[in-house]
Symmetry: D3
Subunit: 308 residues, 6 copies
């Protein structure tokens, strides 16, 4: 029946939703009002922070369009100030959440968060220099690129790498949730999914990028170039470990310096791609490859393997 003044029976639905939430909390051992799943960091807040950091790192190209060199430093300083304060607030939320999860007191959380974000702030100039090598790599790696400036405006791969280098710093600083959210923001707009734990050397370039997946324990050398839909994944987890999968275990590939991996290649497990090798498009690879190797579908035997 369609009652005009009370169409939605909101009281009923709201109360049933509360029941569902309580059921969930009970199932997962939450004490209501205490460990109640609240005060998590916010994805929307992180998106704003990352946009501001991109502007502060590359003011003339990712900052406001009418910026002039005279006022760059004012813009950079003010933007960093706002972004770092906001990031500090998010870091506190994560640390407080982590303390609750671990059943530890959250006394020192504010102090710790401040120290972590101070370190993060001090690392920014080094990250900028590192990112400059990525921009040059993109410029030299794509014959279609007309200028280094164009790279920052148009290449989704660069956007993903900027986010990754910032997220990786957070990951190592003990803020894995903020790191993960940062990575997913880039994933959502580029289709490139790099776990913030992955270690990536200078002059890294991803072209096109949609569908790229790079796992948590992957290690990538310098001057590596990869194309769309490349996976650097884990093999299936062994069944004999009493059912429980071990975490933190190195399980993704090591890619040495100067490697090129063409589109659609799938590389699985803790194997090593030797320095200077080339992996052809759509190649499926679960065994290590020596340096200088040129691997294609034609010269490769498929091995069986499932991946994660």
């Amino acid at each position: 029946m369609s009652d005009r003044s009370n169409p939605w029976q909101l009281q009923t639905i709201v109360s049933q939703l509360r029941t569902a939430r309580n059921q969930w909390r009970t199932q997962n051992g939450r004490v209501s009002g205490e460990l109640g799943g609240r005060e998590l960091p916010s994805r929307a807040a992180m998106a704003e922070i990352l946009e501001a950091l991109c502007g502060a790192l590359f003011p003339m190209r990712l900052g406001p369009v009418d910026l002039r060199e005279e006022s760059e430093d004012f813009y950079v300083g003010h933007t960093l100030d706002v972004a770092l304060n906001a990031l500090l607030a998010q870091a506190r939320l994560e640390l407080r959440y982590a303390a609750r999860q671990a059943g530890l007191p959250d006394d020192g959380v504010d102090e710790t968060a401040t120290v972590l974000i101070q370190d993060f702030a001090l690392a920014l100039p080094r990250l900028r220099s590192l990112l400059d090598t990525d921009v040059l790599a993109a410029y030299h790696g794509d014959p279609a690129a007309r200028s280094v400036d164009e790279v920052l405006l148009c290449y989704p791969g660069i956007l993903a790498v900027i986010h990754h280098r910032l997220a990786h710093h957070m990951y190592r600083a003990g803020l894995p949730l903020l790191a993960r959210i940062s990575a997913e923001i880039a994933h959502s707009s580029t289709g490139i999914d790099i776990h913030p734990g992955a270690q990536i050397g200078r002059s890294f370039f991803i072209d096109h990028g949609t569908g790229v997946v790079i796992g948590e324990t992957a290690i990538i050398g310098e001057r590596v170039r990869i194309y769309q839909a490349v996976t650097l994944g884990a093999k299936r987890f062994p069944a004999d470990e009493s059912g429980q999968l071990q975490k933190g275990h190195p399980r993704h590939p090591i890619v040495e310096d100067d490697v090129v991996i063409y589109a659609g290649a799938t590389i699985l497990g803790r194997i090593t791609i030797g320095k200077g090798s080339t992996i052809g498009g759509n190649v499926w690879l679960t065994r290590s490859v020596p340096a200088g190797c040129n691997l294609t579908q034609a010269n490769l035997q498929h091995d069986d393997g499932t991946q994660k």
Copy 2:
């Protein structure tokens, strides 16, 4: 020539664009001012509605960051009220559009829309409980997941499944256009393309997700896990059906309970993947598979097939 005061010749362009629109309307048998392609639902409106519904379903994790448990119900009630009214308006647009398309009167449209959205509202608590099983599945399915809370913030697969379960309800309720728009909103931000018609059981988990395609008549059991770039598609439509392709026809796979499908696997046609099977990465499959099967590229002969 560049006339400063009249650079664009707007009158000319506007009038030629009108001619182009009229040509289109004539070609497609539209009567101007009557069936004239207007009053379609709005994608921007649906995006706001879905964001509000996500917040109402998971207030502490997808709602505003400063929410406290005390005021959860107020937030949920108010947010639902706004979202359901807005959804009602969109449903009326779709039903009125459908009536016009079918040449039927649109008398009862407002009444019908109200009933449909009332049913939708009443289903939300059940959908929340169902989604809780998906969250747990993600938490247990990914060794990198640190907590159930993290899953909702960071996993694109969960975002896609929330949208799908809401869209699937709309689809079954006779609102296929709203359903489709909802699915595309998730597709755009996750790269995961699930047709709202697909039936998906509890505890469903998609990891990474970019490039996943699940077709309209696919049926997926409980506790199924799939990875990025998996396709559950249709085979090529047979040529002998007098040229006209039949709609609604079951043409996508049935995936039974406890199946795992690794990245890049392509599964086409109305075949069945038996309970507990594992399909390896990049596998191309157009024939049914019995329960408990462990299929990899190595132990499988490619069959010919094109897909839709």
Copy 3:
């Protein structure tokens, strides 16, 4: 140490970031304050312009939801006026930037930009008619499509094609940077990556679309249909060209009229897919195919090849 009143040492960081930027400028031969990387076009501005152009081209379906036919022309005229002025400003930025890059004077830039955008504006009615053929192609090509109106609201492929046809015009007009930004805006929201240089005939349809890559010199005929994850790419660039890769060189496939290419197919190099051919899912192809051919993984020998 955590000093409450000066936690970030902003002066230090700002000054180190300036050092990093100066280093970059020196390395890349920039004269500060002159060629200093500034006054590039803005991606945010282009995103607004393209949204407005979509509304002006399809007012009843991509314009504001409450538009009525009576006032279509007012909406179209006003929206175009705003969008074209904004596009003109972006075009000036690109031309001035290009002049600086080339070491040429930028005297005539404003005049040239006006002429280019005038041509662009005059081309819009023709582009609208061309896009109508794409909408019909989508409607006829997907058995799930219920109406032509639905196509514009729900199909990411259509969104990508609208952006491409606008971007291609800019590309040919000598605004490759605006063109590239426009293409990336579509890439980001659809996962479909079409280089603005690609030439595409009428009645073009991409279904699902995530992961599609179409290269700069690709030529696509009329009534072509392709599915998700299809690549029309370049083969590896020959090593014997004194190290330097040649630009502009035709290096992507020619796809003739009435070809269908199923999901995941990879087609590389300046080869030709003959009229009316069908390329099966996941096929890897680096040799030309005659007209009327039906190619699947089963009836094809893999050839070696890496792609770009």
Copy 4:
């Protein structure tokens, strides 16, 4: 006590506020859910509508700053379309509310509202010409005015008169609530309080304006000029009318053509200020004045009088 997880006792306050509302509704004879004080027009909506109408009436001066003459008509047409639709929605709310208040059915409300707003729309060109006479009056009346263009940008009196002429049309059309809201929007930003019922002839000019009050039944001729803090009010209502004050009764002054009233003058009751008279600053007046009179504090005896 300050309970961290439940500081506000929201349930208690919300329920007491509900009790207070119910008490009010009972006292004022409202039936909950039926006449319940809802669906009144919105001040925020009217503010947007009036801003749009100002832009449509004076596109080059109150419209967007980058408008060019070429596209004026597109802007005007599109802006009017949006504004009139929004005004129609507000008019329906007022008429439905008035019907409920009067205990009448609201069947014809939508039809009536449409007719009223159609008339309003058709009156706009005439109102524009009338307002042009006010702009010229301001230009000629203030020696400090440098150009007619400046008047529209800087004179609060003109803003008040534009709002009044629009509000007066609504008032006569049977939309007194929308009229009153429109008048209060101008009152709030200019300090000039003109009741929408007042009749005002062409070429009207208010200088400075703060504190001006013009009552509901005032009648003002052509070419009248008044200064800040002038009151055209009612005298005290007679006590002998059985306690009940009569509404609609003419109770404010008639000001004939070419009158000037200087700052702070108070003119009360249904008296007439004869053609061409001048009323000095701070004069207190409750008796009629013949044509051509020049009245100052010095040549006038104060009469007793209180005003409304």
Copy 5:
């Protein structure tokens, strides 16, 4: 000279502005970085809070236009939650600032602020009932008022009284700065300037209102009605108090029950206007008046007096 790349000499101006600020801080005995004038409450924040509180107090008339009675409580609860949390943050800023000014520690500030805002929250139902008497007073006091609903939408006097009653509670609670900001927000939009210290009885009505000033120690009884430009002010402060003016001293009028004061009347000093009196327009009054008196300019001798 106009240097294109450095037109503003920002470094110079920024440094001179800093010098000016430091000079100010030195002059006023501020220790930089400690008492440095920072962390004051924000007017913009208070404006949002007050708008939300108005909506929570009168949801159907000052809340969102599409609210229905069914969902009133959800809206009220959610809106209060947001507004009270924001108000708490502002209260902390004021208390911390006051502690610094007084050279006291700010240890208990957060606790105190919570208690104060809890009291404020609990007082809201009583304030709503009080405001209902003001609304009825306006409805009965103005023959032009058509309905009680109209009063809330259109009468600036009501807006001023709502803000006053909220501000007065803050003032008494020891938050004079928030109180003052709240009063100024109303002053700015209505021209009515009521000091938050003034005590005002039930059923209070101000008509038109522009220019009304009511001082800090004024006491107003029940059922009082006043018109525009009325001043309830202080007389000049006596010169013999060793130059220093005493604060908090009662210095504004006492207005007893059922008094009416017409427009422009000026009433100065700690005098008493007896119950039921009427004060005529423009009357200048510095002596007490017995009950039942009817005072006009004609029957009153002016006394000399200046006012504050």
Copy 6:
């Protein structure tokens, strides 16, 4: 008649509005498309600029609430940069408009505008120091003021004076239109109407302020204090000047140092109020007053006079 698909007859109204505009342009001697009333400065733009300048002048009190001293200079520099560029754009519009009005070429306009805004920028530190004297004057002049910080947050008089000192600089620099718009922005939110031409000495304080009017040629000394509804106006312009009123002519009062003027006083004509005088409330004054005079209604004969 109410045609659903074409209710507004927009074509008719738009065309009649165009006719009205053309009539106006013809009457006022405008050449369409050339002098056509366009490219005037924007009030909305000036409002944003002034808000930014207030923040840059008083960063800790009128800037963002979370600013810390460490980052003040970054905020000030970045905010000034944005505000000055925007002001430059407005200045160009005014100068170009003035050139067109005067029939002069607008060649040097951009250069001139840059020089004017450079001067304006360099004057800001001096204006800040001047405003500090006004803040102290308010603090000392009002016994209710608790701290200098409160003055900037709560006193409308200070807001008006900040705007005036900025506007006065623009006025003297040859940007009278921007100056006037700035003054009206303050007038609208404070009810205080100070013509930007007025010259005002240091330590100026206006209390309450609603209804204050200060004319273009008024000259005010140091340490002057005035209250609400005070007028410093012009007497009536003599009739014998061949009908045409002379502009620029000194016609408003000179108020010497240390004068206090109480509420409602009206002071008209080019008279002088001698140093240290006190003018009582509601006094009407058109003759000069010697130094040290204490004037009240009681000891003063009214003289006749009307004012402008």
